[in-house]
Symmetry: C2
Subunit: 416 residues, 2 copies
């Protein structure tokens, strides 16, 4: 077991049942009860929703994306405006993903080499070099509580050789991220205006500089999370975990490279491979996973933190999560349906409106419909994790999760 070095971060498991656990993850901006779903604020805002709505729905830790914020408005700009917490008006725990996934999926041209990734912005085609050190400087500027290493992404069905190459490179990049993370801790952040994002700094930036530039150089209190890679190959996943634990001590550990095209069975099997070799004292974050059943299956396999754009993206598309599976609100059968979307759900869409009106909003292409379904889906995931925590505390998680999954899956295929 590795001892955390920053007292502001801690993780305590309070209840266990099989591999599942309930706990508390403490960060400089507050505590998160786990298992927890983290709403995604890709560009410093959760699509369609206000941070107040997300907090009211029970959101405690949110996630933003370093790739997006580096390109727009620029990590130096966010830092000059007070950091990501101040910029996005979220005073709770926050995590930034490195944007590795976005570089591999959004950027126009990208070449991966040992130093990092060279890519053209999906916004304006400008050329960027994105390596482990640059990513650390960017995430240090943004200032989230938890920041992610740069890793190399591959498709979920990649063969052993490609998966091994990416896993091993991710380990080498982790060591470089860690060295740069520690160096910034020691030497301070670069002065405003001296990073790769120079070009986007406006001429009037100096007026934003603090009275004491030296104080502004102090690195924020952050935890760097490593990412387990290795595709769906058990021996690679185990080697990745071993390599990560050999690299240093950590406040948490992430499992990446899942929900990227592999089968659900392969995803669950991979979680079962990782679970026994992961330290029990660290929070485990399954990246990019956010369908309701995948969350419950993940908790059963020892996962503590999740994130995904699915709830807001599917909500914008008119798809709602319910205990009986997914519902497409545009369906004609809802035209005269005066029932709420989910009986007992506390979200505004369920307490204030009926299915007939929600359907009308989508058929009439009204923005309120997108908002209400996005918030409903987010509420549904947050409520599901709250119920999972309660079941763990009550020692009934196995029965609860089996019943939950059976109900969710009984009708998912019947009424898509």
């Amino acid at each position: 077991m590795h001892v955390p070095t920053t007292p502001e971060f801690s993780f305590r498991v309070s209840h266990e049942q099989g591999a599942a656990r309930a706990g508390v993850f403490a960060t400089p901006h507050g505590v998160v009860e786990t298992p927890a779903f983290m709403p995604v604020a890709t560009q410093g805002t959760i699509k369609g929703l206000s941070m107040d709505e997300v907090a009211s729905a029970g959101g405690r830790m949110v996630l933003s994306n370093a790739y997006h914020l580096y390109l727009r408005p620029g990590d130096m700009m966010v830092r000059a405006l007070g950091g990501l917490h101040a910029f996005a008006r979220w005073n709770g725990p926050m995590l930034t993903d490195s944007g590795g996934f976005q570089v591999f999926s959004l950027a126009k041209l990208r070449t991966v080499h040992e130093d990092g990734v060279v890519f053209r912005s999906h916004l304006d085609g400008s050329l960027h070099e994105y390596g482990p050190e640059a990513v650390m400087r960017i995430e240090r500027n943004l200032g989230a509580d938890v920041i992610m290493q740069l890793d190399e992404l591959i498709a979920g069905q990649a063969g052993e050789s490609a998966a091994r190459g990416a896993m091993e490179r991710s380990l080498r990049w982790l060591a470089r991220c860690r060295a740069e993370f520690d160096r910034i801790e020691r030497d301070g952040r670069a002065p405003l205006g001296l990073t790769t994002t120079d070009a986007v700094l406006p001429a009037d930036l100096p007026s934003l500089l603090p009275a004491d530039p030296e104080r502004e150089r102090i690195a924020p209190t952050q935890a760097l999370f490593p990412i387990v890679q290795g595709g769906t190959h058990p021996e690679l996943r185990r080697a990745s975990v071993a390599g990560i634990l050999a690299t240093g001590d950590w406040h948490g550990i992430a499992i990446g490279g899942l929900s990227v095209g592999e089968s659900k069975a392969d995803m669950y099997a991979t979680l079962e491979v990782c679970e026994p070799v992961l330290p029990t004292g660290l929070p485990r974050y399954l990246m990019g996973v956010g369908f309701p059943d995948d969350l419950v299956e993940g908790v059963r396999r020892g996962i503590d933190l999740f994130d995904c754009v699915a709830p807001t993206r599917m909500g914008r598309d008119g798809t709602a999560f319910t205990p009986d599976g997914k519902v497409q609100i545009r369906k004609g059968s809802h035209r005269t349906d005066r029932r709420p979307l989910v009986e007992g759900c506390g979200c505004p869409g369920c307490t204030r409106y009926d299915r007939a009106y929600l359907r009308h909003l989508f058929v009439a292409e009204e923005m309120l419909g997108l908002r209400l379904l996005a918030l409903h889906n987010l509420t549904f995931l947050l409520d599901t994790m709250r119920d999972a925590r309660a079941a763990l505390r009550d020692g009934v998680f196995d029965a609860w999760s089996e019943r939950w999954l059976a109900r969710y899956r009984a009708t998912t295929s019947a009424s898509p």
Copy 2:
């Protein structure tokens, strides 16, 4: 002076200064302090906003559109679902426009003749006949407190002959609207399923019928408002008012056919023509006018009620109303601007965020930006009318409105 016939409606002027007045308009769903701006819920929802947000911002009476709701989801459907108040979850005063303006501006093919307008839906090209009697049945089905007559619209710069023709036809249509309105009051509403919107009624509608079909036939308590027409021709406007007052007694009177292409000077002059000949005891509603300065100018000329999609439409486009004129939030000068949009404004966009973040939301094309600016603009108009009412009650309206207009116009042209 014409005596109202429905005791649920009343209008009382409490303070006057020149032509301007403060008063209270009572409806079956509550009272509205005037002068007031009515937020527009065209399709039964205020674009981008929830009814709760609109109420929190100070909205007291909202407006929906019979043309849009007739086409989708259908007025019979809205009625079967409990009426527009229940459908849109707005329990306060509500008004429906007849949709005459939309027929003339949105419908694909339209031919106007004495019986009404034949048009093809802008949604699916289906053919519809929209006459005075049909419009009354539709608005009776929707069930708003105040419903508008069908009138004939013409361009703001139309010549005397065209303006006279449309004005006189609007008077004839008013008489037919009134006859049908009274007939429905006497005979009851048509049974569900027997109007021109037959085609859109789903097969499962009967299950929604009330236990007592006869009770459902009772017409809602409503007031029909006539519309003054006549373009920018003083003698036609005066003839229109005289014709309306000769047709019957009313609970309020609207001025239509303005803000449709004529100059601002012509609009203000036309209001000055109407003001002396309008009964002082009726609320006066200036249709489709909603820029901040036009509201203040309208109040100075005796107007009590306004509506317009401008606040939400301009908000979606990134244009914000401020006491110093309009501001385009995308402008580069806001990139590092940590001030709120409007100092002292109580809307979420101003109390929670700064201009730099709002600009980021628009540049990054994030939905939250649209919401925040739409709500800000609505708040700005509602606050302006609240301040106008206070100035009238305090007897300082002339000075207040001159100061307000001078400040608003001093910088509008300078920083568009």
